[in-house]
């Protein structure tokens, strides 16, 4: 029993506990799983502490020699994400303590999903990552159509088939890279790729694996699965929250990891920088077109993923850590927004932002939570979004870069000005007010986390990732003024432009691509990436 067996424990504990406790009655089962989640969080915090104190944990499974064995690894990149995943799953499970959609099958699938997500973060072996992604894909497909109403089966089928094609790309890519390097272990692969004479041999596998990862990270034009999965009408609130909070982050995490493995030969920074920018713009444009509050949030996740990828590929260290910090922040505020949106939909029995009014009055705790999430996501001063966006803006030089970030910020604010109308006014029709202390307290805790992530932005980044970055500039009068101006322009633009082009919005909203078109987009993405690698 060594310290590295904690890695096994974190991955396997949720799913084995869920499987062995399955005979318990539902109430006890939920309590057991909550206890399991709390202990996994404690383990993850311990793991994080060990890694941050300068000791990356590694374990070669089953005692095989290096190169053959599956490596489990926790380093300074994966440990914070593991902790995020564990904390997040605990929070969402507590949030849904009294929810009526919870049954034992659902809880079991939820825990299995948690295990696979933590496994992806901790795995250092490409094929193992592939298997875990496939597993999480199957579980998510079931969770999307869990309530089986409306078009959920169609959504889940489209999600599953698109992801399956992407995973076939990844498998072929892994096959190529295995033939070239003879290993699946990421560290050894990195060493052997560095020894290659020319990058041409690894271009094809890189393009294939990256196509799959870009789909997982919801990059343009491969994001159309994400609103279906995250905003699915039949998916319970906590599924949407976990998908948007943690699962989509596995894509970004793998983007960092696999890029690092191929870094000696291939540098696709410019490609992903532009891609992140386009994704961000398209994401908020589509978010503005939506009516369903969950779909607004889902398209918004696309936009924020673009921002994160941009930050990671800007090239400066501050911007990179800004991107990483934005991963954590986005999990907090988007998770919070999805949880509260789910509660709002259940109470009002409506999904359209135009029909929901007065959340602040009917459910003050939920309303405050939504407000905190919105302030976080728009980058309001004192909230966590402002800190990470400030770091990202550090990497942007010149007028064009500043303009790009301003445009993204404006779009974000604009779509949330639209979202904010649900908070005020007078509720029409009957509202079932939830009398659930868990819902309110988790919403408040996540909201406070958004606030403190902003107030203590510098120390938080140092605690999570290590580097000491200056955050003083994030609270300068210039930045606060900038936020106020953005908000003003957004309100004006909403009043003057967005509310008058209703027919255009409906046309964009109802225009959906068929499966064949989506596959063509995926192939085009692959060819574009390959062409980029060849031509540079």
């Amino acid at each position: 029993m060594t310290i590295s067996s904690i890695l096994y424990l974190i991955i396997l504990f949720p799913v084995t506990a869920a499987a062995t406790g399955y005979f318990l009655p539902q109430r006890r089962y939920h309590q057991l799983l909550a206890a399991v989640n709390v202990s996994v969080t404690v383990l993850a915090a311990f793991l994080f502490h060990t890694v941050r104190s300068g000791q990356p944990l590694e374990h070669l499974m089953a005692g095989w020699p290096e190169g053959l064995a599956i490596r489990l690894v926790a380093d300074s990149l994966s440990a914070p994400l593991v902790m995020l995943g564990a904390v997040f799953c605990t929070g969402t499970l507590l949030f849904s303590t009294r929810a009526d959609y919870l049954d034992k099958t659902f809880l079991f699938l939820f825990m299995a999903l948690e295990s696979t997500l933590l496994g992806i973060f901790l795995s250092g072996d490409l094929f193992n990552i592939y298997v875990l992604i496939e597993l999480s894909m199957l579980i998510i497909a079931i969770l999307i159509m869990y309530k089986q109403d409306k078009q959920s089966v169609y959504d889940a089928m489209l999600y599953l088939m698109m992801n399956f094609i992407a995973m076939a790309f990844m498998l072929l890519g892994i096959g190529f890279i295995y033939r070239i390097t003879g290993v699946l272990d990421l560290n050894m692969m990195h060493e052997r790729i560095a020894m290659l004479e020319s990058p041409q041999a690894v271009m094809l596998p890189f393009a294939m694996i990256m196509t799959a990862i870009a789909l997982k990270a919801a990059m343009f034009p491969l994001f159309s699965w994400l609103p279906r999965a995250h905003g699915a009408p039949s998916a319970p609130a906590i599924v949407s929250a976990v998908l948007s909070g943690v699962q989509v982050k596995t894509g970004v995490y793998l983007l960092i990891r696999v890029s690092a493995v191929f870094a000696p030969q291939i540098d696709a920074t410019a490609f992903f920088l532009v891609l992140g920018f386009i994704t961000s713009i398209v994401g908020f444009l589509l978010a503005i077109c939506q009516k369903d509050i969950k779909l607004i949030l889902a398209y918004h996740t696309v936009s924020q993923m673009g921002l994160i990828v941009m930050g990671l590929h800007l090239g400066t260290e501050t911007a990179f850590y800004g991107g990483l910090y934005h991963i954590i922040n986005h999990a907090l505020f988007k998770g919070l927004l999805f949880l509260t949106a789910g509660t709002i939909i259940e109470s009002y029995h409506r999904r359209s932002y135009a029909e929901i009014r007065g959340v602040m009055r009917t459910m003050p705790a939920i309303g405050l939570g939504t407000l905190a999430g919105m302030l976080g996501i728009t980058g309001a001063p004192f909230f966590n979004g402002s800190i990470s966006k400030y770091f990202i803006s550090d990497g942007l030089q010149g007028n064009w870069g500043g303009m790009a970030l301003f445009l993204i910020n404006l779009g974000t604010t604009l779509s949330f000005v639209k979202y904010a109308v649900i908070l005020f006014g007078k509720p029409a029709g009957k509202v079932d007010r939830p009398r659930d202390p868990w819902v309110a307290s988790v919403a408040i805790v996540f909201g406070l986390a958004c606030l403190f992530g902003g107030l203590l932005g510098g120390p938080a980044v140092q605690w999570l990732f290590g580097p000491t970055l200056k955050t003083a500039g994030a609270l300068s009068t210039q930045k606060i003024l900038g936020f106020a101006i953005t908000l003003g322009i957004a309100v004006l633009a909403y009043r003057l432009v967005v509310s008058r082009i209703g027919t255009l919005l409906i046309r964009v909203r109802t225009n959906k691509f068929t499966f064949n078109q989506l596959t063509v987009m995926m192939t085009l993405f692959f060819l574009a990436l390959l062409a980029f690698l060849w031509l540079r």
Binding site: Y154, M157, F164, L172, G175, Y178, F515, T519
Partner: protein, 117 residues
Amino acid sequence: MALINTLGISDLAIALFFIGLFGAMTQRSIMKTIMSVGIMDMGAILYFAMANRPDGARPPIAGTPPELMADPVPQALMITAIVIGVSVVAMCLAMYMRVAYRYRTAEWSILTRRVEK
């Protein structure tokens, strides 16, 4: 003919992958796209299973002398991949059945139109 003789199984596996991809891009019938996706997956698996396999190597099954064996790692991994592929295809088919009963169509374009209303 000469070209065909020089092709190995790996090349055919890649061809199979792209045939499957072409099918997924062009077929309008849902059933045929599911089959195409399955073919893609099989192409990838076949390619992977042929990795590091010299000519005349035998499958790594007990009883084969070790020096004649093909690299056992890809073969062991591909058993996992086959199982995953089968289960995903099975799940796609089950979902397709639900969708087909509910919306009374077997074509993507009609299905998309009926669902998004």
